[in-house]
Amino acid sequence: MPMISILAVCICFLLLTGVWVHVGTLNLSQAVGTEVPLGASENPTALWVRFENDSSVQVSVKNGKDLNENIKVITIQHLDRHVNARDIERFAKNIKVAMPQLNVALILPAANSSYEDIVAVMDRLKKQDITNIGIAPL
């Protein structure tokens, strides 16, 4: 009996002190062919995030008729060879104030864009309730 207790306590200790790595996913909604989801307009207002080769990004709002021309396009310079995700989030936040219904984004990566940068941008956009994100293949 004491042996079982010691073993059980050991297992508990190992389970509690072990590092648990939680793997999750960031989901994309890709359009296949010419399909348009039911109830969605054909050209919804969307945020386009175009990656350049030097990790700077051009963020623009497509089909945003009510939006001021001055805030429709912005170029965000890279930060230590990585995408400046914080500034992208700030821009998305400002756009969401003007257009709360905006929830579509399209990411256009460059060939040398890192997976980490793409995920960082997706994460920041989802944080601003832009949940319908697609990625354009090269």
């Binding site: 059980a8 306590v9 508990c12 389970l15 793997v23 996913t25 296949v32 864009s113 995920v119 090269l138």
Partner: protein, 161 residues
């Protein structure tokens, strides 16, 4: 120091199970209470630890598991979701594509994904955070050609602010 036979016998008797058994059923009232208390405590510890193990196992087994190679570092994201059922994982490592540890070239990847479309509705792309998009692009393209509209990127769950 030398032990004689009686000393050795006495010592072994003290440490033996027989002696322990007899001490578990003491005739004195105080000793009886002490041993019954220690026995209850042992059972309680056992019961408690089994309960903790059960709770730990049952709370972590609700999600699907994903095998990640040791040398692969996934990017971190705070807005991640749980791994979905009915999904197929494509691992991109050193510009090679793996499905269930089977190496595939781009053509084979397309064929396998077309077959998997009947069973699964989502592709999970697993790659190192330093990987370029050019190495992930064939998976996205093959997935779209196979008819997958749901593609996910595997990430490590970060803490939400």
């Amino acid at each position: 120091m030398k032990f004689n036979e009686s000393q050795i016998l006495n010592q072994s008797l003290i440490q033996s199970m027989l002696k322990g058994q007899s001490s578990l059923k003491p005739k004195q009232k105080i000793m009886k209470q002490f041993f019954s208390l220690s026995l209850t405590l042992t059972s309680l510890v056992d019961g408690f630890t089994i309960l903790v193990i059960y709770l730990l196992v049952s709370t972590t087994s609700g999600t699907f598991e994903m095998k990640i190679p040791r040398e692969m570092i996934l990017p971190e994201a705070t807005q991640s979701e749980l791994l979905a059922a009915k999904s197929i994982t494509v691992r991109v490592q050193d510009n090679k594509y793996f499905i269930n540890d089977r190496v595939l070239n781009i053509e084979q990847l397309g064929i396998v994904l077309r077959g998997e479309r009947k069973i699964n509705e989502r592709i999970i792309v697993q790659a190192d955070k330093r990987a370029n998009f050019s190495s992930l692009n064939p998976v996205v393209l093959s997935g779209l050609r196979a008819g997958f509209s749901k593609i996910s990127f595997a990430v490590l769950q970060g803490e939400r602010n």
